[in-house]
Every structure is written in C-alpha cells, then in structure tokens.
C-alpha cells in the first residue's frame, strides 16, 4: 500500500510517498481502507518535528475516515462494511485522561495511508449524513471543541461564549455552542470570515484588527460582566485579553497557541475573578460518540475549505501553512 511517512528525519521535505506491506488485523483489530483524511495545525507541528518524543518512521495525520474491510477474530464492536474514524488518543476511551496518551499520527502511525489497522476499541462510527471528507474532519478539531464546551464546561441555553478565529476548532465550537442554545461572539481579522461566522449563527462579531481592544468590546456586549467561556486559540498574546473578557468564575479553554507558546498570566486578576484556565487536548472516545449523536440529530455539516487528492498531500500541508483557510482542509484517497 501507499503511505506518506517521515522516515528518519522531520520537515515537510522529508515527508514522502512510499510503499509498505499491506497490514493485516490482529485478533482484536480492524483493517480500514481509508477514503478521506483531514489536516490540523498540530499535524504541521508533527511534520516539522515539534511534537515531543515522536517515533520515526512515522505516518502523519490523526483525522480520517474509511471502510472496515476485515476484522480480527475477537472483534464484536465493529463489522466489515462499517464506516469508521480512529479516536485521536487510542488510550483514552472514557472518563479522565489516561496517564499516557497514544495519539494517532504523533505517538504512533497515523492515517495518511491507504490502509490502517486499529484496535476495535479505538474506532467510532461516524454520522451517516456526512460525506467522507466531512466525516474525516471530526476526530481532532471537533472533539476538542466538544470536550471544551460540553465536557469541561456545561454550556446552557443563554450562556455566552467567545470564540477566537474561524479555524477548525473555532467553527466547530461556534456550531456546538449554537446547538446548545448559547450566544456566541466571534473574533477575526477578516470581515469576510466574520460574515461567515454570522451566517453560521454568531450573535456578535469583532474584527480585532479594527478593534485591537476586543476584550473591552466583549465586556460592552455582556453588560460589563464578561463571557462565561472563551475558546482560546491565540495562546501567548491573547490570554491576557481573554482574562479581561471572561466573567467572574468563568472559564478560558486553552486550545491553541497560534500567537505564542507562553502566556503571561496576571495572578491578581485570576484570583479576584476566580478564573479557570483549562488546558484541553482533544477528548475521549466517549466524547466523540456523544458528539456524533449530536451531529447526527442536528444533521450538522462541518465547514470544508478545500479538498486535495491523496497524491497532493504535500501541497495540502503547504496550503495549511499559509493560514488563509476557513474551516477544514481535507484529502481524498
């Protein structure tokens, strides 16, 4: 079969299309013929070698979908013909995060391969109304947004959520927050992207290039109280403003680090406002399954920016690096 792999070094130049023997499932495993995959910002960190303790050679990408074409003798959860996605962290099925994570396309081979073998417990069925490309976008970005808003937080109708940007996690967060009846405020540097956000149900939008003090604007939009939750994508440079923009007792979900790896946290504000700063790293299989029920019930559709053929996967990484996309970048096998 054909796979993309980082053989013995990292960097996009080192990512190459190569041949490997077709895999066969062990007694508790399923063999999946991949039909689509999707990229995350994290995948570019992996390809460029910024992921800690990654093994080489490595097949990148955590997100994809395919058909099960064979199953091991002990497999009972899944059957041949099922359409499934792999769970991002193969160790995290339920409950609290495990001591050690085992993420696809990071700690172990990922899904940028024609065939993938996974433990029967490490896959989930995906909603039927989605195309393969759409279904492929869920394992990392969507589960991250779901975990933040629905597992760590308990969003209620009328809650207010601030979503930074319009990347993958952000648009999923907007969609899930709307589904839960929350009021969503979206920030972006692009009016065009803000128009999209508004068309997807954002109650308020802020162009942060025109309004660099967006935290003040958020306070103004919430009677001076601040929002209940922030989906914090910017990281380093945006955390201080998020601390201003969140209400007393509110939660900032640390999801990204687009503007910097280190955040300066002003402790007196954290104390007096009793803020919770919560690191989020995708989520469990159980969260993935709950999310799928919600997506299914609401016939929700992920936003796809562009689809590349399998043969142009390296192009897709270059496109991701440009950062001009809105929604997900996919690969069709």
């Amino acid at each position: 079969m054909r796979v993309y792999e980082l053989r013995n070094k990292t960097g996009l130049a080192a990512l190459s299309l190569t041949e490997r023997a077709d895999p066969r499932p062990g007694p508790d495993q399923v063999l999946v013929k991949m039909t689509a995959a999707a990229l995350n910002y994290r995948d570019s960190l992996v390809v460029n070698g910024f992921y800690p303790d990654m093994p080489l050679p490595l097949v990148p990408l955590s997100d994809g979908v395919g058909r099960v074409i064979a199953v091991g003798e002990n497999v009972h959860r899944i059957k041949v013909g099922d359409r499934v996605s792999g769970v991002f962290d193969q160790n995290w099925l339920n409950g609290a995060p495990p001591c050690k994570n085992l993420s696809l396309g990071g700690d172990m081979d990922g899904v940028l391969a024609e065939y993938v073998v996974l433990d029967q417990n490490g896959v989930v069925h995906v909603p039927e109304h989605l195309t393969d490309e759409e279904a492929a976008t869920l394992p990392c970005a969507a589960v991250t947004a779901w975990n933040a808003l629905m597992a760590q937080d308990q969003l209620k109708p009328g809650s207010t959520v601030l979503v930074q940007g319009t990347g993958g996690v952000s648009l999923f967060a907007l969609q899930f927050a709307r589904m839960a009846g929350a009021r969503v405020i979206v920030t972006s540097s692009s009016d065009e992207k803000l128009d999209l956000a508004r068309s997807m149900g954002a109650a308020e939008v802020i162009n942060y290039t025109r309004t660099p003090e967006w935290d003040q604007q958020v306070l103004g939009l919430t009677d001076g109280k601040g929002v209940d939750s922030v989906i914090e994508i910017g990281g380093g440079n945006t955390v201080p403003r998020s601390i201003n923009a969140v209400r007393r007792g509110g939660c900032i979900h640390l999801v990204g680090l687009a503007t910097g790896m280190t955040a300066e946290v002003f402790i007196p504000s954290m104390l007096v406002k009793q803020i919770r700063l919560q690191g989020i790293y995708v989520g469990s299989r159980s969260m993935f399954e709950q999310m799928n029920e919600a997506i299914d019930h609401h016939k929700m559709k992920p936003v796809i920016d562009r689809v590349f053929p399998f043969e142009e996967a390296i192009e897709s990484f270059r496109y991701l690096a440009k950062g001009s996309h809105t929604g997900k970048i996919c690969i069709r096998f």
Copy 2:
C-alpha cells in the same frame, strides 16, 4: 386593596375576594402592583388544603408579575418602574436548597392580590419581550423544568428527553430541551396535544391511550437504550414505566404526582440500571435568572391556554381542575 384569601378554612368555596389595607414596603422591600398571575396544579392543592403546614388566612398563587411602584430605603437591586416576578421559594436564592422553604402562596401570602410586598432579594426582572400574562407563567412551572434539565441534569445537544404530557412544566421542558439541542419524545392521551408538541419541536410523540406500553415504544425509539432523562409528571402510576424507559445511568426527574402520590419502585431495576430518581421542587433565584437569560436570548414564548380577568379568578381554578388545558392558565389584573 382587593385580595383573594382563604380566611379560616380551605376549599375553593372558601376562597373569597376581600379587602385588605394597602401594604407598604419595609426598608429592604419592594411594593409591586400586580398586572398578571398564573395558576399551577400546586395551587389547587393549596386551595383544597393539601399543602402541609399552610398558615391561614392565606393569599394563594406563587406566579405573577407586576410593576414596582415603591421601594424601601435600603433597596438597591430594584428600582421603581421595574417589571418583576417573585421567586417561588423566597428563602432559596442560590446554591443548594435551604433547610426550610418559604414559598409564595403556600408558606406565606402569594400574589393573587392587587399589591404585593416582597423582599428586594426575592424578586427577579423578567424578559422584556414577554407580555405580562406570559411573564406571569415563569416562577413555578418554568423554573421547575429548568432546574430539572439544566441544573440537576446537564442536557447536551443530542441528549434524549422523555416528557410526559403537555401541561405547564411539560411544555416548558420541551422548549428548554429543544433550546439545548436535545431530542425530545412527548407522551399524551390526545393527538391534538401531540400535534402541538410536534409543532413545538418534539422529535417523536406517543399517544399512551393507543400505546399503553409506551415504555417499550421509547426503547424502540432509542435503539433499545432508553432516554437520558425523564420529566416524570404522572407520579404513582407512571414511575415503573419510566424506570423501564430510561437508560442505564439515566435520571428520572420527579416533578408531579398526577396519577398517584405513591410510586412502587422496583429496586433490582434501580440497582442494575443505576437509575437516579430525583425529586424536584421548583428552583432558586439564580436558576430563575439564568433561565430568563435563555428565554430572552431565544425570544421564547410560553404557551398560554386561557386568560381570566382578576374578578373571575375562582372560575380559573375550576377550569384548572377540569384538566383539559394545554399550557398555562393566566389571570389579568
């Protein structure tokens, strides 16, 4: 001022329109000129003397809305001109329920009076888009539904909720569950009422006269798993079927006792399914305020069955007793 009161005995015949001196607010109180009120099943229990330890004379009704026309010298939360409702339990502002409740129109005088004096902490502002009659329906039935689904439970998009009937609490529960993105199944004995439920967003409806084994139907509609939550209105006769219809680890919110005061609970099912049977008794001021934000954001409208003038309040109790209404019965002052 004119008030309805049970002077020295109970029973609808004993409820009479009478005169009392106009009340004046103490230093921490507000004086409210009532404009509308609403009835609950509980009010008929009160009027008929089935409410424990009620003082006499007693002005009935917990639910109403009015304008603040005077405030005491220490009042800062509320100002003259505000439109407010009283909190059902004047002792329960926030957090866990207090040791002792103090409910309007039960443990103390209620709102079926032209003027009402309440502690400034015991009132909330009501959503602006609602008429007085609509706003009057919120304090008991709506807060009960909110407490069950949003405080005791943490409904998520895609959760499944079984709502029994189409009375006050039931329709609010349907509306809130929909707002939160849940999938709602409604039972009723009337196809007409089920049509209403469907038009309000119920995903599935069951006529329990045609399908007396509605618990089996609920299992069928949920892949055999059962629902996440039940709004249990029937009480005595319906709890056993609700135990069948709820999923493992699910919750039955005990809200009503329309079919009987005592429920036979089969313990082995409770154990093996790890069911939670949760008694609900309205909710706190804080829940009321959160609910109002949700109602406001969604511009939600309560369902009103009929409005009686103040002078026909006794008629309104008779109409309530017939049980043919759908949604709330109101009184206009």
Copy 3:
C-alpha cells in the same frame, strides 16, 4: 482444574465441585491462579437462580484474588507474578456505566475455580498490605461503597452519613466515610455489632429493634436536618424511613434489598425535600483503582467474619444464608 459450577439448574443443591480443563490465556488475557475468594449476598441470589439472564453452566462468585501465572502475547498492563483481582463488571473500565454489563459470576463465569482467565483490562492490582483473604473481599462490596460515597456523592469532612447494618457494604461504607472525615451513624439490631461499629469510628449508633423509629432518632442527632447521605441496605421496608432521615437535597444510595424488592416511595416528600434516590451497582475499574490507593494510603483492613477452605465452599453459602455474620465471609484455596 477444580471448579464449582451450576451445571444445568440453579439452587445450592445444584452447585457442585467438578473438573474442567485448565484454561489458557488468549493474546490479551491473563491466567490467574486463585488464592482466595469472598461471598456477597448477590452470590446467593445467583446460586438460587434469582439473577436475570444468567447462562448455565456458570461458575459463581465475583470476588477473589490470585497470582498471575501466565500472560498472552499482547499483555502489557500486567505481568507474571502480579497479585490481582477481577473487576466485577468486565465491561466497565471508566466513566459512565456501559450499555450492557458483564459481571463475573453472573453474566459470565466467576472466580470459584482454581484457575481463571481474564482480559488484561479486567483486572487490578490489590494493596500489598492485605492478606489474600482480605484482598479477596474488595471487588463487589467495597467498590459499591466507594462508588456510592466517593463517585456518586462527594463526601466532605463533616458530612453526615447513615449506614444501615454491619454487612459487607456497610462496614466498607463506614470505613470509607471515616477516612473522608465524615460523621457516621450506624443502625443494627444487635448491640454487639453496634459496639463493633463504634470501635470502627461510628459517631453514633442506633439499635433499631429498641428504636423502631430510627428515622426520628437520626433527625434528633442532626439538629432536625437529617443526614447528607444514606447507605440504603434494607430496600423495601426501610426506604420510607430513609426518606424521613435524609436532609433536603440529600441522597439515598440504593444498594441492597434485604427487606424487600419493592419500595413504596411517597412522592410529595421526594419533591419537597428534593431527594435523590440513586441506584448503585458496584462500580468501574477506575473506581476500584482509586479505592485501592486510599486503602493503601490508610493501610485499611477489611473486616473478615470467617474463612472457609475451598472444599467447604457450599458450607460458606449456608453460613451466608444465616445472615448472622459481621463483615465478609471468605474462601481460601
């Protein structure tokens, strides 16, 4: 190997010691040489055929401990020489209960056998300071008490807990509640057993034969408020008094049904007091592991009533049926 099994019918007379082929572990399994086992009330239900949908032939007993003497090729959590117990529900590792349980000695063969094969995920290491007999007592009764008090409830120092009786779950509940700094009230019909409870840290004890209105006594001991939590062992006949004895907003953990399978629940009390009646059915592997850390840190010792040799296992069931024991009945291999 020798096993006890119910071959083609139930009843203690049908439980017989027989020979089976020595089992061998599959690739993900471990082979355990059992050294001790323990009995629960539930095991007599199983043996007498009162357990729903049990397969025959069946090896009874969920609780035991042994040494791992062989492991399959994929096993990484466990190694040869480890001392382990099986998890009661082999399907419940973490998080919420699974759709379908798979309990040892009920839904599948249990541990009253010289050798047992289990999935590597279905066993836990047991605290080192315990003897084999002591360790054997944990999987069902101790995890049940832990789940009730530490997972469903969140006991705090100063919380009050009412524990009914001095059977297996009850004494574990007393020990865990004490560990968590709670104040424990124990009921029993025997002064001798109450003396034991007091020596184990019960703050108050009530002999319910001398004080049949023990619910009133509990109210007296809690300034009229009632306790935060009840460990409900009696079931049918005791639930109504537990409803009286628990505080507003408190929780009754349904654990047993010693006095009857059906409880009459008075709904108005459930409503006004906002009581939670929570069915408990043992717990997950993750709860078992957390509990073991607590037992280890506190060097806690289970209370053992009597130990029977493997050859007298049938006697041990008779002794259990008499109901005169305090603490656990064990079997030594």
Copy 4:
C-alpha cells in the same frame, strides 16, 4: 469606640488608632463587640494601598470574631449573645461568586474596630471549642483552603495534594486535606517548619532550598504521575514547577503571589497535560458554614504563631511583613 483606620492615605504609617461614634444596627443588622482578629497577607496589601478601588477612610482586616450585643428588629438568623465571624465577601452567600465582591477590610470597613455592624446574612457562628483568637483566624485563610480543596476540587481519600509553604492558607490546607484522607506533600525553606508540617500529618516534606528542583522530587514521590492538586502560594516563580508537578488532568489552585504577580505559563504543557489553573478568592458563607461543621466534628485547632494586644496592632503588621511566622498572627481586643 476605638478603631484603626487609614484616613486619607495608605501605608502603615498612615494607619492610626482613632475614635468613631459607636455604631447601631439597622433593622437587618447585628452589632458585634469584637474580641479577636487575625491578619492575612492580603491585609498588608490593603494597608500599603495595593488593593484596587479601596475606599478611604477604611478600617482594615477581614478576619475577626466577637459577641453579638444587639440586633435589629428583622433579625432572625442570629441572637444576642451569639459568637460570630463576618463573612469575607459580604455579597457571596451561596452558589457561584457574585458579579461584584464586597470584602471586609477592602471594599468596605473591616473588623479592626471595637464594635462592628454587619448584615445578619453576613455572619456565621463559629465552632465552640475554639478560643476567640483561634476562631478569628477562619474567615479568609481557612475558607480559601476549604474552597480550593473541597468546593473547586473534590478531594477523596488517597488523593495527593502538594501544599507550598507553611503560612496561613497552607497549614489550613494541610489540615483539611488530612481530614479528607488525602496524602499531603509540603514544601518549605525551613526544616523546622517542615517538622511542624510532618507533625501535623504531612506524608512527605521537601526543603526547596536544598531541593530547588522540587517538582522532580514530587514526581518521584508519586510514581512519576504528579499530584492531583497543588495549593499554589508562590505565584510568579512557582507556577512553572507546579505545572511539572501536577498530574495529567490535575488542578493547580492559584491562591497566592508571594514570589511574583505574573506567572509564565507554558501552553503546550497545559494542553497535553490538560491542566486546570484555578484562581481562588476566599469563598462563600455556605462554604464557611460547611467548613465549620468539619472543624467542629474533628475538633480541629488552627495554628497560631503569636497574639498581639489591640493596642499593638501596628506592631502586628510589622511582624507579618517580616514573614517569619508559621500559622496565624492574631490580635486580642
């Protein structure tokens, strides 16, 4: 009466003993004759003008105890003769923190006065077994520790807690964590203080001057997993090591800022470890009351370093500033 006040400027030199008219309680207020008070690090921030938006003149100190000698006509929660303490945040009685706090000795006059008038809802009864000086130590430091460990966290027996230092909050945290059956690790620069911590039940102690990489030591003491919770007192300089020392999914309770007002938070660690950084600012009246029940049940005694007479209150601030104390600094009236 005599009070200490900052009249029109801040700084310890501006704190002076002066006379004010004896206060009288309003209809909902109680008049308390103070008998003891206690200092917190926060009080030195107030006196030195580092507390935001503080009004002048201001009587400092949040913590104290006294006897009620008169009550207003509406007062029912409290009676003359009761021994009470003021709640730190007079606005926070229950549930989530209010939009705006109103802290004693910061946002309003505090308790360094012979007589204090407070709202009846703003005081709590204190445990009987405590001396006045001991009882005076509870409102700020003890409630802070309780909120962190028992409200934000849900400490269980066997949980591991890292407590930084041996100041007021730290020793209370050690005591409460022990009460809840947790395993506590304490850090300090002084072997003498660590001996005290050990004598109070710390399972492990680390001298961070001898072991500057105390985070590594904490990992070593927890099988490489890290602790469940950290009581973070140091702030700026210690947060990065706390991030290393806490387990995946664990919680760092931001309580102090002894070593710096700004913490550099490394986002990748926050993400991958899914850490919660939780700002804590004392707690509600309800937490105070729950804590008092626990202190009462366990007959717990606060650690007092030194008691100054009322006339030497300024000396007590100087002593606090030296930072050599262990436990609380009190003032006797």
